[in-house]
């Protein structure tokens, strides 16, 4: 339990909650400016080829004559945009080719023109007047096609590339090896094997807020309101494209209506909005359509994963192999790092992990909640279930037996690891001991019941970040950092951390985000915000308290004048001296000279990434679920979910549970509903993307081990944004196997697969 005067650990309501329930919370598209113009995009309708210049010209002319149209931007009149630096494009999914820089078409949904008008209706109408003609070329639409066909030559000085490649590491993290092995090359003869192939489809982040931008220029300086979750990266990308200094760009990202990995990296439409605003010398607003969200803000690419687990009699793993084939676009690098956690999740003396990326004629993919782990653990944790059934062992028992006591990739010990407690608590809460092992052995009201489980894991990460402190004797202390409130509760938990470290009640502190004028913070992703920004806020608040103590001992009129600062404590807004004398801090500060106080207590701090050499940092958890399968109508319903997580200290259990529920619901969608419906031949969108609704979610029982990890950061947290989703699809697929006897290895698991008659004769079924 949190001590009475501390804010951390309490179920504090969201600090921006009042604004969110009254509609006064402002997101990027909610801002208004005099003379605002509205943009809409024209996008390509073929996957590969070239748009005819003449059709662009005549379309643009037609649109320009339409009512209210102010400007039409096409490759024919777009001022040349710079190529981004290699640092941004070689291991991050920013495109090598600037937007509207040529007539070649590399995928459906590539920007081909922007129409700007005086109203949204007129802009949309202008777009509808486009009628483009193309010279089509044979596209490569899948990794299989790329691998079986000759590799076309690079184009545009390597901006457009084809073929496939084997990336070395994940983003800028050289230790996260995408090609990795240890131990002997061959499996020991005394083992038995599971050898299965799993596939995952194209998934979309689908934040409910559409990506939105408002750009305007004032005296050569650019201001952009954008629904971005990486202010510093966007500023760098825009400076690169536009050839202006970063200092001349201000990015504002007030509140973000969900991101889940999108709203970052793919900023071509933002750059075009800035260009249009510069040409027109008035503010321009662009809101992507829901369809454009599929092509223009990234997605999770398809994966095909082969897993081989070999184990000795009794279930001890001897070797693990995880080979991933995935896809990126022809204009950007991205690798879905599905095999990363196979390198360390279970004890495995022999290991081989590989990732091959094929460049296809599709939009550029990017990170999506649980990048790597979400599809990767679907494969690994399904394979573990297959191994359990092959060995005739309880799935939890198999995992306990193969628990990894150290990080086998580098020999380091874990900073903290409580995975065994997660299994134990989860199985008790769920009532797992009542599970009968045999598939199809549990029924209720005429439908099959299955109980499945899976391990969850996601790295603990921390990066450098800055924090500003602004003290106002009337209002209180404002902390500010260029991070983003994407629904992760960062404003609330940072306020809690700041309040405790300052020794103030929460009402005296606030936390502001979403402005590039604040000190830099990294992207809001990779579950690192709380550890990263939290460390900066903590450092700033500690510094603030030191400075306050200096003030109260140096002011001649202060009751603590000449006291030893080390003997003073400040809690809940009250200063206490060692001899038991107490004065309210705020009343005291008001008696001092305001300018002196505010000046002394307004400053910036920078925190580093901490010492990450000594330990390996990883969060863990265990999912247990029940699925009802009605085989007559091919419906799987997830009815009950128990999850226990080891993510370090929990700052706000109310918000943490909510975020984990969201993660599990995200994974549930991935398991049973979600795939971007591209037509296999034309690669056009041909349907809807189904998401979990109120009707689809199970009853939740979510809990945390809540043991701090002070080795990663001074507040003891490891982040919870991704881990909720990781392992969920496998837990569901394993429950479906238990319910039906069908081992389904292709996501999403849909009606067709569930209605196939039983038994299905696969080698794995015979092994059971």
């Amino acid at each position: 339990m949190a001590p009475e005067e501390s804010s951390v650990g309490k179920e504090v309501n969201r600090v921006e909650g009042h604004a969110k329930v009254t509609g006064s919370a402002l997101y990027s598209a909610d801002f208004h400016f005099p003379n605002l113009a509205y943009a809409a995009l024209v996008q390509s309708e073929i996957p590969n080829g070239r748009v005819e210049a003449e059709s662009l010209r005549t379309s643009a002319e037609r649109a320009s004559r339409a009512p209210g149209v102010l400007f039409v931007l096409t490759p024919l009149n777009c001022p040349p945009l710079n190529v981004l630096s290699r640092d941004l494009t070689f291991d991050l999914p920013l495109e090598r080719r600037p937007p509207l820089s040529d007539l070649s078409v590399q995928h459906v949904g590539q920007h081909l023109a922007m129409v700007v008008a005086n109203s949204p209706e007129n802009a949309t109408d202008g777009v509808s007047l486009f009628s483009l003609e193309y010279v089509e070329a044979a596209p490569q639409l899948s990794a299989e096609e790329v691998l079986s066909q000759p590799v076309p030559a690079d184009e545009k000085n390597g901006q457009i590339r084809h073929g496939s490649y084997l990336p070395d590491h994940f983003v800028k993290l050289t230790e996260e090896k995408l090609q990795d092995h240890r131990g002997p090359a061959e499996a020991s003869p005394s083992t038995f094997q599971v050898d299965s192939t799993y596939t995952t489809p194209v998934n979309a982040h689908y934040p409910i807020e559409l990506a939105s931008t408002i750009a305007f220029w004032e005296e050569g300086k650019l201001t952009v309101h954008d629904s971005t979750r990486w202010i510093a990266g966007e500023r760098k990308a825009l400076a690169g494209y536009l050839g202006i200094p970063e200092a001349d760009i201000r990015i504002l990202s007030p509140l973000v209506g969900g991101a889940f990995g999108s709203k970052s990296f793919l900023w071509m439409h933002v750059a075009l909005t800035a260009v249009a605003a510069r040409e027109l010398q008035r503010p321009v607003k662009l809101v992507l359509t829901r369809d454009q969200m599929f092509s223009s803000t990234g997605h999770r690419p398809r994966t095909k994963q082969r897993i081989q687990l070999s184990a000795f009699e009794g279930g001890l793993i001897e070797g693990s192999e995880h080979h991933t084939l995935t896809e990126t676009s022809t204009v950007a690098h991205f690798c879905e790092p599905a095999g990363l956690s196979t390198r360390f999740l279970y004890h495995s003396p022999r290991l081989a992990v590989s990732h091959q990326v094929a460049r296809i004629n599709a939009p550029t993919p990017c990170f999506m909640r649980g990048p790597g782990e979400a599809p990767g653990l679907f494969a690994l944790e399904s394979a573990m279930d297959e191994l359990a059934y092959s060995a005739g062992m309880d799935p939890v028992q198999l995992r306990v037996l193969n628990h990894a006591d150290i990080d086998q990739t580098n020999g380091k010990t874990w900073s903290t690891k409580h995975l065994l407690e997660c299994y134990e608590q989860g199985r008790k809460k769920f009532g797992w001991e009542k599970r009968t092992m045999a598939p199809r052995s549990m029924t209720r009201d005429g439908v099959q019941i299955g109980w499945g489980m899976a391990t969850a894991t996601y790295p603990g990460r921390r990066m450098p970040a800055g924090c500003r402190v602004i003290t106002n004797v009337e209002r209180g202390v404002e902390f500010a950092s260029a991070t983003h409130e994407v629904g992760n509760g960062v404003r609330t938990v940072m306020s809690q951390v700041a309040a405790d470290a300052c020794g103030l009640p929460m009402e005296r502190v606030s936390f502001a985000s979403g402005d590039s004028f604040f000190p830099d913070a990294p992207y809001s992703g990779a579950s690192q915000t709380t550890a990263t920004v939290g460390s900066a806020v903590y450092k700033a608040a500690m510094e603030w308290q030191q400075r306050v103590k200096q003030l109260v001992i140096s002011d001649a009129a202060s009751p603590f004048h000449s006291h030893d600062p080390a003997a003073l404590t400040i809690t809940a807004g009250v200063v206490h001296s060692a001899d038991g004398f107490s004065v309210g801090l705020w009343e005291l500060l008001r008696t001092f000279d305001t300018t002196t106080v505010e000046h002394a207590l307004t400053f910036d701090v920078q925190s580093d990434a901490g010492d990450q050499e000594k330990f390996a940092f990883q969060s863990f958890g265990a999912h247990f679920c029940e699925v009802e399968v009605d085989e007559e109508i091919g419906r799987a319903t997830v009815t009950k979910w128990v999850a226990v997580f080891d993510c370090g200290r929990v700052l706000n259990p109310k918000l943490a549970r909510n975020q984990i529920m969201g993660g599990i619901t995200f994974g549930l969608g991935m398991a049973l509903l979600e795939q971007v419906p591209y037509d296999a031949k034309t690669s056009l969108l041909i349907g809807e993307y189904y998401l979990p609704t109120h009707a689809d979610r199970p009853d939740f029982d979510i809990s945390f081990i809540d043991k701090p990890d002070y080795a990663l950061d001074p507040i003891g947290v490891r982040g919870i944004g991704e881990i909720g989703a990781c392992g969920v699809p496998a837990a569901i697929a394993n429950a479906i196997f238990h319910a039906t006897g069908k081992r389904l290895r292709d996501l999403p698991i849909m009606l067709e697969q569930l209605m196939k008659p039983f038994p299905e004769s696969t080698p794995h079924m015979e092994a059971v």
């Binding site: 402002l26 003379n35 209506g257």
Partner: protein, 191 residues
């Protein structure tokens, strides 16, 4: 501040439509582009951006408002088609600084994360509670007793709320908290 399109609109040769709406108790009369949806009208012309656009084609429920007391998705409602109506948006639910009990329950139960679906969830729930109170049935209602179905005296169970709120998508996945908030508001309303 709102952009002034009146000059530009006049120069364009498109038909306009004189529209009068009562929005959150305030009467507004203006000339509109006949293609304008209620959603774009609220957001782009009337400075009421609390109502959100999540899909613009009736899929997500983020744009839900009440028109004459009934919930509609404002992205599929042509403004010209509801001339003379009363519109209630999220901005009109609180009583001054005092939150409505539904809003208060969303806040306490943490019925959101990013908050983008929230105006739609709350507006939808607001109208749904009225539907339920007057005895409108849902699919789920038929799983109860004959008596309850005939009289429309139905308990607002968890299952009922989930069914009746199924048109409002929350990608953040705050569903359980949303249902808890709606049920708590219903209880408070009865108390």
């Amino acid at each position: 501040m709102m952009p002034d399109h009146s000059q530009e609109q006049a120069s364009a040769s498109l038909p306009t439509f004189p529209l009068t709406l009562n929005i959150n108790g305030e009467t507004r009369s203006l000339e509109i582009d006949i293609r304008t949806t209620l959603l774009d009208l609220l957001r782009e012309r009337l400075n009421k951006p609390g109502t959100k656009k999540g899909c613009d084609h009736g899929l997500c429920g983020a744009c839900t408002v009440s028109v004459n007391g009934e919930r509609v998705v404002s992205c599929l409602t042509l403004a010209a088609s509801i001339d003379g109506s009363d519109v209630l948006t999220i901005e009109g639910l609180a009583d001054g600084a005092e939150l409505s009990s539904l809003q208060q329950c969303f806040l306490e139960h943490d019925g959101f994360q990013c908050g983008y679906c929230t105006p739609g969830q709350i507006s939808s729930a607001h109208a749904m509670l009225a539907e339920h109170a007057r005895g409108d049935l849902s699919m789920v209602s038929f799983e109860t007793t004959r008596e309850a179905v005939l009289t429309g005296q139905l308990e607002l169970t968890e299952h009922e709320v989930r069914e009746r709120m199924a048109g409002n998508i929350c990608r953040c996945g705050a569903y359980a908290n949303i249902v808890a908030a709606v049920r708590a508001a219903d209880q408070r309303g009865r108390a």
